[in-house]
């Protein structure tokens, strides 16, 4: 049925692949933290400091329930197993010895003096069996399914720190991250690729000046560049604010005040992501462009006397396609770096939420944020895949040939 629509078929194939990848990422998100310690134990150690034993137990059970670590029946009640708990009771036994002392009296009759003496005190262990109802532990597999089910319900657990639902924390941070990273990565990609293509085409002085600079930019780690911007533009020269997404002293800002303050705070983090990304892209595009310049179709276009802008358009478009594939592959790395930039600027996005969670060992938040990052990266990848299929006639043609 789908054979008639190769593009649709391709997109649905990719969708299935990404969905499987998502499930695997989900499992990783579930299993990786369990390499270390039991999250509930960690939480209890943190939270249950001053609680009574009963309260602590209740809380622990509640947590285990909410993390899908224990089994629940259809009505939602905790399934309890009767577990025979074996307690060791230590019994103190005293062993007496009768000491008989024979003493002869003056008549020579033997008098027997009988006396009980404690010979020793023995500690004896006795095992006492005691039945108790204990919540049934879920197997790892069913824990995983519980986790997946909860994730699909949108339930990512609650923060250890303040008990807020993780989804709420994420929803607060997400708009900031999207507003910062999406334009910065997209524009950085476009800008870097344009520069790279131009350097490949022009060579000469432009290339010689741009190339080392772009190479240097691409080797500066995100956080180093971020800190340099903060230090010089924020602290030494005080051009821009160094932390936050908006001025907190504005108590009830109107729309315009909010936007202008947000824009002011936006400049440094944006450029720190944008420039580094552009550097890396320019390097990649330059080599791609030089490669494409050597191809026959560019030579032919020049022989035909096509306009320079047209040849450049050929070059850019065709070198861009592999760069687009490169974008799909490295978007995860870019987002990782951009998150660290958020941390440096205390920008109220996901990166900062994650940093806070890391410093306070707030595991559910860390896990929730990482899951969201993975999901968005996969979505971005999927989008790029579709774009490539739409933009590259070679892919299109090969798709329709496959289905013949």
């Amino acid at each position: 049925m789908l054979k008639k629509y190769p593009t649709v078929r391709y997109i649905s194939q990719r969708a299935i692949w990404y969905f499987l990848t998502f499930l695997i990422a989900l499992s990783l998100n579930f299993f990786l933290p369990r390499f270390g310690s039991d999250p509930v134990d960690t939480m209890m150690a943190q939270a249950a400091g001053g609680l009574s034993l009963e309260k602590a137990k209740e809380m622990e059970e509640g947590l285990r329930l909410s993390y899908g670590l224990i089994v629940v029946d259809k009505q939602g009640n905790i399934v309890r197993d009767t577990v025979i708990k074996i307690d060791t009771v230590v019994v103190r036994d005293t062993i007496f010895t009768t000491v008989k002392e024979s003493v002869a009296d003056s008549l020579g009759n033997a008098l027997v003096n009988e006396r009980r003496e404690i010979e020793s005190i023995v500690l004896r262990e006795t095992l006492i069996e005691r039945p108790e109802a204990v919540a049934r532990k879920a197997s790892v597999v069913s824990q995983l399914f519980n986790y997946i089910r909860q994730v699909f319900k949108g339930d990512l657990g609650k923060s250890f720190e303040n008990g807020k639902p993780v989804s709420e924390i994420i929803l607060q941070a997400l708009p900031w991250t999207l507003a910062l990273q999406f334009p910065a990565i997209l524009l950085g990609w476009i800008f870097g690729n344009s520069l790279g293509a131009l350097a490949a085409y022009k060579r000469g002085v432009f290339d010689k000046a741009l190339f080392p600079f772009a190479l240097l930019m691409s080797s500066v780690p995100f956080f180093v560049f971020g800190m340099a911007l903060v230090y010089f533009f924020g602290i030494i020269w005080e051009f821009f604010p160094v932390a936050g997404g908006v001025d907190k002293s504005l108590l009830s800002p109107n729309f315009f005040e909010f936007i202008s303050s947000a824009a002011y705070h936006y400049v440094l983090p944006f450029f720190s992501i944008f420039l580094i990304l552009a550097g890396g892209q320019a390097i990649g595009m330059r080599s791609m462009g030089i490669y494409e310049l050597g191809t026959d179709y560019i030579k032919y276009a020049k022989w035909l006397g096509l306009k320079e802008t047209r040849v450049l358009a050929y070059l850019f478009r065709n070198a861009m396609l592999p760069q687009l594939t490169g974008l799909a592959l490295s978007i995860g790395q870019m987002v990782g770096g951009a998150l660290i930039t958020e941390m440096i600027f205390s920008y109220p996005g996901l990166g900062f939420a994650m940093l806070n969670a890391i410093t306070s060992n707030d595991y559910p938040v860390i896990q929730g944020v990482t899951l969201l990052i993975t999901t968005s990266v996969l979505l971005a990848n999927f989008t790029v895949d579709i774009l490539i299929a739409l933009l590259d006639p070679r892919v299109k043609a090969s798709l329709s040939m496959d289905s013949k």
């Binding site: 695997i24 390499f35 160094v242 390097i283 940093l355 060992n361 896990q367």
Partner: protein, 289 residues
């Protein structure tokens, strides 16, 4: 080979890159024995973040000042450099070994094995390695050693090597000398090690260089956000930055807490990128012109 080397030496990028990188390696190896101050020695006389100290007529000079506790930054930097290099190389070796084996196997075998391995590789490429690093490191609050972090990085970055090696190996697969070897009854292993690997050696080396750079970067990134190595003597450049930032070195204008360490990381990575790019230029003549 000799000719390639001669061409490389003519390349300014290669000369600058190898000079910078050899300098950092030498500093990491020899530094601690030349600059004998102990990185963990705390000078309790100095105030937090002193640039240098002149005290009671005695000249105690810290070239790059001290950290918040009064530890000598030069000594810390040297140790950090050593540790960062260790992690970079270790991660690079792990990633290159796994990646090369997977890539060679997939590219050489082709068919279903290739499909499965490629899918596996792509899967781990799209799942951000940063996320995996954060998840594992965060759940490992104790005993996060340099080696553990290096292994983690290596285990998350190999797919990049595998991907590029696979492409190269696949292009070699159809070459005549491979078919000839096969006709002559060479086993797969023999073909891979005798006929494919030598062709890819320079390529694998270039990828290795990039993996070392990415190892150094990943380690400093993960340390920067407070998930770096813990334990005595495991201070890395990222850890220095993390501590300095937490102690407000940035906002207090204590530049020496941030920029020397940040600079060393950048120089190392830049040097490796230069090396890689210059080699690409020589091995791939089209880029020259």
């Amino acid at each position: 080979m000799l000719k390639l080397l001669r061409n490389l030496i003519k390349e300014p990028m290669f000369v600058i890159g190898s000079f910078l990188f050899l300098t950092t390696i030498l500093a990491g190896l020899l530094g601690p024995s030349l600059y004998t101050a102990h990185p963990d020695a705390i000078d309790s006389y100095v105030q937090p973040f002193k640039q240098y100290e002149l005290e009671s007529g005695k000249h105690i000079k810290y070239w790059l000042g001290t950290d918040d506790l009064g530890k000598d930054y030069v000594a810390l930097l040297l140790r950090g450099l050593q540790n960062s290099l260790y992690v970079g190389f270790m991660a690079g070796i792990i990633a290159t070994t796994i990646g090369t084996l997977v890539g060679l196997f997939a590219g050489f075998k082709g068919g279903i094995i290739d499909d499965v391995l490629t899918m596996f590789t792509n899967l781990f490429i799209v799942i951000p390695s940063f996320v995996v690093l954060v998840l594992v490191s965060a759940s490992w609050p104790e005993g996060r050693s340099l080696t553990l972090i290096a292994i983690l990085i290596g285990l998350t970055t190999w797919p990049w090597t595998a991907r590029s090696v696979r492409a190269q190996a696949a292009s070699l697969r159809g070459r005549d000398h491979i078919s000839l070897a096969r006709i002559n009854g060479a086993t797969n292993l023999q073909i891979i090690f005798k006929h494919i690997l030598p062709y890819l050696a320079s390529y694998v080396f270039m990828v290795f260089i990039m993996q070392v750079a990415s190892g150094i970067l990943s380690e400093s990134a993960i340390s920067m956000i407070g998930l770096g190595p813990v334990g005595e003597g495991s201070t890395s450049l990222g850890v220095i930055l993390n501590i300095a930032k937490d102690q407000g070195a940035l906002t207090d204008k204590k530049w020496w807490g941030i920029f020397p360490a940040a600079g060393v990381i950048t120089v190392m990575v830049f040097a490796l990128y230069l090396l890689n790019n210059s080699m690409e230029g020589v091995f791939n003549p089209r880029l020259r012109k």
